[in-house]
Amino acid sequence: MNVRPFSERHLLHALCAFYLVASIVAAIDPVKRDDWLLENLLVFAFVGLLIATYRRLPLGDLSCVLLFFFLLLHAVGAHYSYSEVPLGYWAKETFGLSRNHFDRLVHFSFGLLLLQPAREVLMRVAGVRGFWSWCLPMTLVVSLSGLFEIVEAVAAWNVKPELGIAYLGTQGDVWDAQKDMALAVAGAALAILLAQAASLWRRPASRVPRLR
């Protein structure tokens, strides 16, 4: 896949500029500063990795847009330390939910939005094709979701307890880790379905067998 040089990718410029501004705004006065920092440790590493690997492996526009939306959602969550996101409160009141579900939305988005970038990386780096170009990205996304739950647990043990609970965002749910991972699986599955539907949509009409 040929990706245009960075200077010609105006969409990517706009995404980077918007994300930079949004990150700065979210960083100015977060609800809990310690929690904001903890939530962003992985983001710093991830964005750093994206920048560092750009020369060798520049991702296409679609992957960049999807990553942008995921990082933006996470920036909003980190600003409000997830359990206090206004949108989540609104959903809680409107639908009579037991807790602020914004973190669940982001776990689902992790699967939905990161499947395509993972697929692009695996197709280009590992040269996977066909069935495996769907199965292996799904595996990667689900495994990262599992790894995140492990990291989250380790962080919760080491960080001081009151912040641990805020960071953990289990919000009193004993099956929190399992629900988070299940949502990542569901998001990735939906991404595969949407990608398949899109490829059917783009297929030239002449190739589709016509009913007589």
Binding site: W132, S143, I150, A153, W175
Partner: protein
């Protein structure tokens, strides 16, 4: 194409069948044994039926057979009553029988190499990812297993949460199980990588 004999895997299958039958005769808790074996029979059936299309190496079949035996022992004693685990618990003064944790670690340790063969030979993955994707595969399967376990737990004993059998009252059980599988998988891939590096360095027999 290299011809592969079925004798080796068939011998392993027969040995495993004997172990499985012996442990199926009088399990500690028949219902728990049934639940534990629900995923095993389809797994063995798929392995057997797909042999003609995709044969693992003998090393992989041995690793899979060892894992299946560990699981058969765990299922026989409902995991938390395995004598070996009870001995380890007493020796190291642990809070719980660690045999299921050992089983999760064995899952990663023993099944990552077969997964590597699938990733390398079937999916045709090139480069260093051939070591990393099997580890991701183990972690993903372990995560999915924890989700299934939670669903089963909520059906078997609704509202009990982690006090149910599998978690033995440990609220971090799922994360610890996944970490054990991850640790096992990383260890096995490291060993495989070292062995392959060492054998690659030894000069091959040069034709005259």
């Amino acid at each position: 194409m290299k011809l592969v004999s079925a004798r080796y895997p068939l011998t392993l299958l027969a040995a495993y069948a004997l172990v499985w039958i012996a442990l199926a005769i009088a399990p500690t808790d028949r219902w728990s044994w049934f639940l534990e074996n629900l995923l095993i029979l389809p797994f063995v059936a798929v392995l057997t039926l797909t042999w003609r299309r995709f044969a693992f190496s003998n090393v992989s079949y041995v690793l899979i057979a060892i894992y299946l035996c560990v699981h058969a022992i765990g299922a026989h004693y409902t995991y938390r009553q395995v004598p070996l685990g009870g001995w380890v618990r007493a020796a190291f003064e642990l809070q719980r029988n660690p045999f299921d944790r050992i089983g999760h670690c064995a899952f990663g340790l023993l099944l990552v190499y077969p997964l590597r063969e699938i990733v390398g030979r079937l999916a045709g993955v090139r480069g260093a990812l051939v070591y990393w994707l099997p580890i991701a595969g183990v972690l993903a399967l372990s995560s999915v297993f924890e989700v299934i376990e939670a669903v089963v737990a909520d059906i078997v004993s609704p509202g009990a949460g982690p006090t149910w059998l599998g978690a033995q009252g440990d609220e971090w059980d799922a994360q610890m199980d996944m970490a054990a599988a991850l640790g096992g998988a990383c260890t096995a891939m490291l060993i495989a990588c070292l062995i392959e590096r060492m054998t690659a360095r030894t000069p091959a027999v040069t034709p005259p």
